[in-house]
């Protein structure tokens, strides 16, 4: 958590981000700018190595004319948003019922051991972030599965997982 005062000078939003938010704003009635928060946060997180800073959230709040707390609420509610620095690659291993029955929990254990971190932590080299996933990722036919950033990897074995993780630099 940052101690940033919301009154402080805003770092502002990039031109690309503004464009992206403007695009989403066209989809909602003009007085419902709050509806664009989710899309704005997603785009902002994408621009900032996979996590949101208080400055970014404040800038979004200012751009959408909302109290900053309303943006914080959304960012802290959804597990897709990170509000603290995390590793570059977001790794999520599904342990919900289908994956669990097919060895998802063992797979998770394997990933934890290999990366040397627990769920919710990032590796010290800043490469991997082992995300606490709110499951199920809707790939039960390919259980056990793992998601890295937005890519699904299915029918996994520990060896295949190693191969995938090794390929991510």
């Amino acid at each position: 958590m940052s101690n940033t005062d919301h009154n402080a000078v805003q770092t502002g939003l990039s031109a690309h981000l503004k464009e992206e938010i403007d695009h989403w704003l066209t989809k909602f009635p003009p007085e419902r700018k709050r509806s664009a928060v989710l899309a704005a946060l997603r785009a902002a997180q994408h621009e900032n190595n996979g996590f949101l800073t208080a400055q970014q959230m404040d800038a979004i709040a200012e751009y959408l004319q909302l109290p900053p707390i309303q943006v914080y609420e959304v960012a802290s509610f959804y597990s897709m948003f990170e509000t603290k620095p995390v590793g570059r690659y977001h790794v999520s291993v599904c342990t919900n019922i289908s994956c669990m029955l097919c060895g998802g929990e063992e797979l998770l254990e394997h990933v934890e051991k290999r990366l040397g971190i627990k769920v919710g932590e990032s590796t010290s080299d800043g490469r991997f972030f082992l995300k606490r996933e709110e499951e199920c990722l809707a790939a039960c036919t390919g259980a056990p599965m793992m998601m890295v950033d937005h890519v699904f990897y299915e029918n996994l074995t520990p060896a295949r997982v190693d191969e995938i993780l090794d390929s991510l630099k």
């Binding site: 208080a54 707390i69 802290s76």
Partner: protein, 723 residues
């Protein structure tokens, strides 16, 4: 009308309810209590605590009474086995994570959760798992947090978003991890923020200065009226062994509803500041000597008598605008009894050039509750949120709920948390020029000539679209008001501002109103604490000197009543008083040593019985809540004895009610009337700009309220002063 009503049955009794009402409104009206946490009369409905579940015939499951609208033929059971079972089940859920720390919780004994747990809780918990723990948040110097106790009713969140107008608190996280807070470390800074303490149904939000200092059941509750602004806010002091421990709201729908400003809630800390005086003091050379009351009072009487025998015009009397009606009246009687008309309470007013056209008392122009119903408002010279937070709240309601158009003319821009239809601030020209341009625009639109008093001013005014818009908004629609605030009244061009405002009122038909500058200003007017008028606006054969003039005149003796400090007076006032003068102060604080020769220690607003007359002209008397510190005495008693020592006739009051009633008998014919009768042209009196109203330095007591002085607001104001 009957179309709007539906017939329902509550616990077997037929009742009628208005269409669109929620069940809880109907059950409350019929006296069938339904337990609740998240529902609050003044807040939007959230329906997230589920405590108000009731049984409704034909509904498959219990329904939340706060979020279920009434329908024709509905049969509601609030105490049926099904309803009670549902309520008990909800209570069990709420208590899963609530700590069992009532013995060390400030809310213990006055806790809604505790009370309802007695009624609906199980004797033994079935839940043996660990309770969750939530980190406490630091949300500033006023409100303490124990977030583990929070049951997520979101009353505080809805208060910040709906009543304050700017959401500062929110629900962060999700599910098991949900927390109420500000997310980033930040204090809650609105001027009404302390009300979240009363709203919180558990011990999560409590008063920080009061924390761990007393128990609810040990204290007695005494009514008070706030002296810090002209609203006349109703409050209760909670008193333990003669000491005010805290202040809470006293519900009065006509005035403050169930809210009080933070200034009203926390000012009591100032009562017990280290520099409170407990004994009369006399200056001896460069040091001070504590004396007994008799010595001090005789010295004062001798001195005043001596000056009066020579030239009563050498006596100047100043009363703080926050003194009670009784104190104001006796001060007036003493001044005039000694033969001096040099008496004033308008300590900050610099332009008294047209004071003969002042109304008998500065009236709001409508009732406080009616402010909510206005369709169009023009506020001239007022930092509204700082001046009178609860009037700002009413006007916000008018703007937000009824779409009222609210415009401002100020020397600078202040932040308002509601839509503002027009804001004329400086842009290189002053308030007078802006207002003149609005008058010009209004006169042009209506095709009328402007009154002679402002003809010259309006003739050279340049109306822009912004001016025309304000003129138009004031010219049509229901309930239109033009309000003159404290910054207008303190401005060196007040006569012009008022003449223009009156002209605008005359042209547009909008009502002219005042936001009285100071807590009990209306009472001071009625009591005749004015150089040019006696009691109830009586005209005098000769006028005395106004506050500013009597300081400039460097008189031989001054009497200051009501803890007046240097900050309350125009710049250089202390040097002027001390130049030739012998100064007597009735003050609660040692700061009077800066200027006085004799100090008579008096009780504060919480320690004296007395009457406050608010900006609507409403009289409110309170009996006095706490005992005065040490040998300090209520000022009316001090003044009465002084009156006796000065041999003034009919000064034998036995209680403050007698004083009030004596004045009341003389003010029977006073009616609220803000009409302005001047026809001569008005000139600018001086270039002086109004002294800002600082939220937390309006009077000596507030300046000493420790917690208020630690707020961001106060720190910023002080930093601004030093810069």
């Amino acid at each position: 009308m009957s179309d709007d009503l539906v017939n329902i049955e509550i616990n077997g009794r037929p009742v009628q309810a208005r269409k669109g009402q929620m069940l809880i409104h109907a059950t409350d009206a019929s006296g069938d209590y339904v337990p609740r946490f998240c529902y609050h009369d003044k807040l939007p409905i959230a329906a997230n605590c589920r405590m108000c579940l009731v049984e409704v015939e034909k509904a498959p499951k219990p329904l939340p009474a706060c979020a279920t609208p009434v329908a024709e033929g509905m049969k509601i059971f609030t105490k049926s086995p099904k309803a009670i079972a549902a309520q008990k089940a909800v209570m069990e859920f709420l208590l899963i994570n609530h700590p069992l720390d009532c013995p060390i919780c400030d809310q213990g004994g006055e806790c809604e959760l505790q009370d309802l747990a007695v009624g609906f809780g199980r004797d033994v918990a079935r839940y043996a798992e660990r309770k969750r723990v939530v980190k406490d948040k630091n949300i500033g110097p006023l409100v303490s947090t124990d977030m583990t106790r929070c049951i997520h009713c979101t009353r505080c969140v809805r208060f910040t978003s709906e009543i304050q107008g700017f959401q500062e608190l929110g629900t962060c996280g999700r599910g098991e991890h949900v927390e109420i807070g500000t997310f980033i470390e930040k204090s809650v800074e609105h001027e009404l923020s302390g009300n979240i303490i009363d709203l919180c149904p558990v011990g999560a939000l409590n008063s920080k200065p009061y924390r761990y200092s007393a128990r609810a059941w040990e204290m007695t509750q005494q009514p008070l009226v706030s002296p810090h602004d002209s609203v006349g806010t109703n409050m209760f002091a909670h008193v333990l062994r003669g000491r005010v421990m805290r202040v809470v709201p006293r519900v009065n729908e006509d005035i403050n509803e169930n809210w009080i400003a933070d200034r009203d809630r926390y000012s009591y800390e100032g009562l017990y500041s280290e520099d409170r005086l407990t004994k009369p003091q006399m200056r001896e050379g460069y040091s001070w000597r504590e004396v007994d009351w008799q010595t001090a009072l005789h010295a004062v009487a001798d001195r005043l008598n001596a000056v009066a025998r020579q030239d009563a015009g050498q006596i100047g009397v100043l009363a703080a605008p926050s003194v009670t009606l009784e104190e104001a009246y006796l001060t007036q009687r003493i001044a005039r009894g000694l033969g001096s008309n040099n008496i004033d309470h308008r300590l900050q007013r610099s332009d008294c050039s047209d004071q003969q056209f002042d109304p008998v008392f500065p009236w709001l122009g409508c009732s406080i509750a009616e402010l909510e119903q206005t369709g169009s408002l023009l506020v001239i010279g007022s930092n509204l949120r700082k001046e009178a937070p609860l009037l700002a709240h009413r006007i916000r309601k008018a703007a937000v709920k009824r779409g009222a158009q609210v415009a401002f003319i100020n020397a600078r821009t202040y932040k308002y948390l509601f839509p503002v239809s027009g804001y004329l601030a400086s842009n290189g020209i002053g308030m007078v020029d802006h207002l003149a341009a609005v008058v010009a625009a209004a006169a042009q639109a209506k095709g009328v000539t402007v009154p002679a008093s402002v003809n010259a001013l309006v003739a050279k005014a340049q109306a822009s679209d912004a001016h025309r818009a304000i003129a138009a908004q004031l010219s049509s629609g229901e309930r239109r008001i033009i309000l003159l605030g404290a910054l207008a009244q303190r401005d060196g061009g007040f006569a012009q501002l008022r003449a223009l405002a009156a002209a605008l009122s005359q042209i547009t038909g909008a009502q002219l109103g005042y936001i009285a500058d100071g807590g009990n200003t209306v009472a001071a007017h009625l009591a005749g604490v004015l150089p040019h008028r006696g009691v109830a606006g009586q005209s005098l054969p000769a006028s005395g000197l106004s506050a500013a003039d009597m300081l400039d005149a460097k008189l031989k003796s001054y009497l200051l009543v009501g803890s007046i400090e240097a900050q309350d007076l125009p710049a250089g006032a202390i040097e002027k008083m001390r130049a030739n003068g012998f100064v007597v102060a009735l003050s609660s604080y040692a700061s009077a040593k800066d200027y006085a020769d004799i100090i008579l220690p008096i009780g504060t607003f919480a320690e004296t019985s007395g009457t406050y007359v608010n900006v609507e002209g409403r009289w409110q008397s309170v009996p006095g809540a706490a005992s005065p510190l040490g040998e300090a005495r209520p000022a009316w008693k001090v003044l009465r004895v002084l009156g006796n020592l000065l041999n003034l006739s009919d000064f034998d009051y036995e209680n403050s009610e007698q004083i009030r009633d004596e004045l009341r008998n003389q003010t029977g014919n006073v009616i609220a009337d803000n009409r302005y009768h001047n026809t001569a042209a008005v000139a600018r009196h001086s270039a002086a700009e109004a002294i800002e109203v600082q939220l937390y330095s309006v009077d000596a007591i507030v300046r000493r309220a420790t917690a208020l002085q630690l707020t961001h607001e106060a720190l910023q104001a002080r930093a601004g002063e030093q810069a």
